[in-house]
């Protein structure tokens, strides 16, 4: 079953001890709704950010760590707990001190992380924590929103993606993206898959056919649709449509495959198929997947990053993160005690 968090569960926790924090979430007797603290008051404060010294990371049991959520609620900078295992991997995408604002509201705070090549990396965190925003910053889809402002840097295979003179269109052609809701284009299955080649002006039928078959096989859809490639992409079922979108995303051999909650609109069987597919894509593609579903993250990903209110909290091997998290907050989130 899709694990969908109601938005009202996103509560900043008042500064108090471990026990109290846990109790506050569990105790319905008080009935008191904690006031929702809005993410920092504005850019002025936040832009001065990043240079400030932060609490020592990795000290999971210290009272400083306990105060992380509180510190975030106060708008203070915190440092992410990034496991050393991440540094051992060859990064395909590096995010460097990345901040993002929607108008005056800051949505991402000094995110720094490296996405390993050929692995599946999951972004988890409560609703509104900035997972999708981070994902959409990678292929610069956020550029479409007029009010977005960014600071910091990203590098795809060493090439800066936000530098001056970067061609956004070329950049996007190096990535594939799969969306929360399947969005096949109003055209045939075949044309859907080869869309990215078509816009590059590819006309060679042989090349198109080959790419179409390879991509559909890659998306485990070939056997289901090989006899009706020229029917509308919208005639497929929901799960098939999502796999069609995956086929479309991998048709151009992307350097990074971005997935934005690809299973949240699917039934359990279709979800299972897409999850299996993600497993198969591992190795051939570097996948960055946003998910709400922590079981899904644990099942499909090699690495997991936990985000909270625009900050990266902890990032490491999925197995490590789930079994021996560095931070108390991570443990609380994974066990469902907050978030």
């Amino acid at each position: 079953m899709a694990f969908i968090e109601p938005a009202d569960k996103l509560r900043p926790v008042q500064p108090r001890s471990h026990a109290q924090a846990a109790a506050a979430v569990y105790d319905p007797a008080t009935g008191a709704q904690p006031t929702v603290a809005h993410a920092s008051t504005g850019g002025a404060e936040s832009s001065a950010f990043g240079t400030a010294p932060t609490a020592s990371a990795g000290d999971a049991t210290s009272s400083l760590a306990t105060g992380r959520l509180a510190a975030i609620a106060r708008g203070e900078p915190i440092e992410a707990a990034i496991h050393p295992s991440v540094a051992l991997e060859d990064p395909v995408l590096e995010v460097d001190n990345f901040c993002l604002w929607y108008g005056a509201k800051q949505a991402l705070f000094n995110i720094s992380m490296a996405i390993p090549r050929g692995k599946v990396t999951a972004l988890i965190g409560p609703s509104g924590c900035g997972k999708s925003t981070l994902l959409r910053s990678v292929n610069r889809l956020n550029d479409l929103i007029d009010t977005v402002r960014i600071q910091g840097q990203m590098r795809l295979n060493g090439d800066s993606t936000y530098g001056a003179g970067v061609d956004v269109i070329d950049l996007r052609k190096r990535m594939g993206m799969v969306f929360q809701k399947s969005n096949p284009f109003p055209m045939s299955i075949f044309e859907n898959v080869v869309y990215s080649l078509r816009i590059d002006g590819e006309r060679d039928r042989r090349v198109l056919n080959e790419v179409c078959e390879r991509s559909l096989r890659g998306a485990a859809l070939w056997d289901e649709v090989k006899d009706r490639l020229h029917e509308s992409g919208l005639s497929l079922s929901g799960g098939q449509q999502q796999r069609l979108c995956i086929a479309r995303a991998i048709a151009a051999e992307p350097e990074v495959l971005l997935m934005d909650e690809p299973c949240s609109a699917l039934d359990p069987i279709a979800t299972g198929k897409v999850e299996d597919l993600i497993q198969e894509l591992r190795g051939a593609y570097s996948v960055l997947i946003v998910t709400h579903n922590m079981q899904q993250a644990s099942r499909t990903s090699d690495y997991t990053a936990l985000m909270y209110m625009g900050r990266l909290l902890e990032y490491g091997k999925t197995s490590d993160l789930y079994t021996k998290p560095r931070l108390k907050e991570t443990e609380d989130y994974i066990t469902g005690r907050f978030g």
């Binding site: 889809l141 996007r172 594939g176 969005n183 284009f185 055209m187 816009i199 479309r248 971005l258």
Partner: protein, 595 residues
Amino acid sequence: MSSSISGATAAPPPATGGPSKPRSVSQRRPRATSSLLANGEPMIWLTGGALATALAMIIGLLALVIFRGMATFWPSPVVQIRTSDGRTMLGEITTHEHYRPSDELLATLPPAAAAKIRAELEASDGQAGRRLLRTGNYDLNATHFQWINDALVTEETTPEWAMVLERQSWGRFYGEPKSLLVDDQAAATGPAETWERFKTEHPAVRARLADRVDLAKHQLGAVSRKKDAARLAIVQARLDHGEDSPQHQAAVAEMARVSEWEAGENERLMAEIRKLDDENARYKMLMVTADGREQQIPLEEIVRAYPANQLGGAGRSGVYLSRWGEFVSADPREANSEGGVFPAIWGTVAMTLIMSLLVTPFGVLAALYLREYAKSGIIVSILRIAINNLAGVPSIVFGVFGLGFFCYVVGLRVDQLFFSAELAEHTPTFGTGGILWASFTLALLTLPVVIVTTEEALAAVPGSMREGSYACGASKWQTIWRIVLPRALPGIMTGMILAIARGAGEVAPLMLVGAMKSAPELPIDGVFPFVHPQRSFMHLGFHLYDLGFHSQNSEAARPMVFTTALLLIVIIAVLNIVAIRVRTRLRKRYGASHA
């Protein structure tokens, strides 16, 4: 999860209520059941009634137009009426009504009849009956219709051989056939024999007439066009190279040659025409009217003839269908009140199609800029309001603009550039109303509709599709061209349908920019360059107006008004149905469920 929350808030009323006791049912404020408004029934009646009234009016209008329009061509029996004042009339009864005759009228009647009417008037509360008889024979009687007072009628019969002749000119003729004359010799005598002979001779005569019309209209026309061209060439040479220049002299020489050729050609064609005329002139039908007068009618004058009182259901249907056939395929005659409306149908459809072809791309491009490229702000908002307001500008204003701008400014410029010789002769080519300028004017008129609906259709394209396209590395224009436009096509079609519905029914602006009462030459024909967008044209809406208000024979024109209205409605409906079918197909193809 949410159910537990709602349960939690629903459960504690006793606690939150505190010490106060829960209210019992009887303590509640009494509901105002007496108020009709409160339980909503009157609003159902009010809203439902409004809908029903609107429907009734629309259905009534359609029913009237359909019934009257369909009935026009049905042949009714021909009656012969004798009156007490000694007249005998033959014709079709078109209406019967009650009226109050004036005393002066009664004074002119024979005393017996007047007394009868007076008695009738007293008995029926001052109302006398009268009928309108279509007596035709305008060449003899100088009237098409006659009112006959019921009281004067002494005898009403339906003669077996009463015939209706529809003529090329002078309207209908009612009478009995006496003989068919060939070279002024009776080739057949007696009604039956004459009618049989007529049926064998008439098609050949009509075929010769068609040949003659073709000769006169096309071949003679072609000859005179050549001469016109030669004459214009002289003017052109004079304008371009000056008087007595070699070119001018060459043109004059050419003119002399053409004149000579034209004289010979005219001679030849006229001889052919005369031969056909002479042959046709041999055949005449001698008819006897109800009051005993004889009239010779040349066979080629007769469009259609039938013995009205002998026709069975099949015969009547034949006449009915033949009249419909003529109506939709022939040119009008008798100042538009008879014959067909083919040029008007052609003009309406062609103008509407040209208009759609002009307005759709233009409107879609404008809407694309507004929706996809323009940064939303105060200027765009003002622009939107302005476009919406443009849709409310009275259409005659567009007509004035079309005349002033397209005809007099653009058209004049075109004439100066390409038709200077014609202009020097004071015959504007594009500088006057024509089907092209009319289409431009209506395109302008319907532009706001297309822009607004297209914008809505573009806005309805899901953002996820655009994002998907951008994520594949498509540029903005690629996204618009490959994703947004196909998906919005059904909505754009909706705009086109609305534009057609609006444009095809407009008359007022057309009167200024090229619609004519009579324009026998279609803008597309066999004459080089085959397409003549500068020509004026006929339009069903304008034809309707002309028929209804400017017809000399208004009684005969009135049923034609309904028939023409019916045709106009049918044509607009057909255009719309075609567009709607195309839209349905597009919708299936591109999977858009919205409008």
